[in-house]
Amino acid sequence: MSISVLSPGLLTTIQDFGRNGYQKYGVIVSGAMDTYAMRLSNIMIGNEENESVLEITLLGPTLKLEKGTLFSITGGDLSPTINGKNIPRGKPVYLNKDCILKFGSCKTGCRSYFAVAGGFDVPNVMESKSTYLRAEFGGFNGRALQKNDILSIGVKSSKSAKIIKKLEDIKEKSDFIVSSWYMRNFMRQNPENTIIRVFEDRQFHNVSEESINKFFSSKFNVDTRSDRMGYRLAGEKIEFKEKLEMISEEVSVGTIQIPPDGNPIILLADRQTAGGYPKIAHVASVDIQKIVQLKPNDKITFKKITLKEAERLYFQREKDILKLKKSINIITI
């Protein structure tokens, strides 16, 4: 089975969890920006949670899908339609005939995830199918999708086959069948203010008291020069008590760096493996999905929590995902 790209959208790439184990060679992790939406899109159609998906940015692609394709769409609402009819996000969709999947206006969020039963049949590069755009490897030929690309789909799992059987039992005659159940995967966001929970990072205590107050009380604007490497913020500039002599140190998803101009940068999937700018704080893992669904000019405020709380939230999230996996197992018995 395959998928044909009729138009590529703004930036559509194949991603999974990313490359783990190669940062010591300078190979970045990459992977889906919103791993929560990605995992859910896979779980609900019977894929392994780490299966490769399409990450779709702002303006979606137009894809020709074959009869028998089982897929799901999660993340932001980019107005997906099948043959002109709206399709819901957060539900498995099964096609009774060849169809055209099109996206329209970006109503909420910024990124949407398209998972297909069987995943994408592209080579594993360093144990991952994620696309490393700057180095031009991984994913589909190391690049974003282009018009006329043909994507091969992998073999469906038995779980996916069971989900298909369940959907076929609904005996819906139209172009596609959707399940009656769904998974909530996207928190409605307020572009005027999204609260991001952070904990202290290594150079927090070097920041001036005035700047700490500003950091937690003022609104920051998402700058248009934000991308997969990181989100740049504009607003109150952050200053330090004294000039710091920094040497390159480890960074991770969610690290908030302060470069010389004082404007915070939140590091994300395509961040470099080490950084030489001071780090003020770190976004809680569970709030990364909020950041990556913001668009330029959306506003955020930071809320301070402890690392222990962030860890508790992390565990809670994993418990929730486990519950979802179990519920799929029950549905597909």
Partner: protein, 151 residues
């Protein structure tokens, strides 16, 4: 909040009476139903972020069946908020000029956001009769960029 039953009733009324354009606003919710469009241009239809819009069904409204040579005023609109570029370089040649004829897939400009560039296609066959934005200008979602006289 406008609920789904209300929306269904509104659609039925609009369909039944062949209303071509309908807008309804209540507090923070707004509905716009417009039956006067060619499907390719529908992606660029007016819809500000944060308001609700109903996507029209695939079936065409009665007006569209008529194959007249209508000379309608139409606009090529921004499909997302970003920076408009009329050509590849500042001071360089533009993709299209005033009164130039364009096809459906003629590239008329670039729209950029987050360092990502999207080629803006005309989406309709016609002639450019007005250029509404400057190179380097920031545009909002749905903002008209070119006025086009379609064939």
């Amino acid at each position: 909040m406008i609920n789904i039953e209300d929306i269904e009733k509104i659609i039925q009324v609009v369909d039944k009476f062949n209303v071509s354009h309908f807008e309804f606003q209540q507090e923070n919710s707004k509905i716009i139903i417009d039956n006067n469009k060619i499907s390719e241009v529908s992606i660029n239809e007016i819809s500000k972020i944060g308001t609700k819009v109903l996507e029209p069904k695939a079936e065409k409204a009665p007006n569209e069946e008529v194959e007249e040579e209508t000379t309608e005023k139409q606009y090529i609109k921004a499909s997302f908020a970003g920076t408009f570029y009329s050509g590849k370089e500042e001071g360089g040649p533009s993709f299209v000029n005033l009164y130039e004829d364009v096809e459906n897939d003629t590239v008329v400009g670039l729209l950029e956001v987050m360092k990502l560039f999207n080629e803006i296609e005309a989406g309709v066959q016609g002639t450019i009769i007005d250029i509404l934005v400057k190179h380097g200008e920031f545009v909002e979602y749905g903002q008209p960029l070119f006025e086009i006289k379609s064939k």
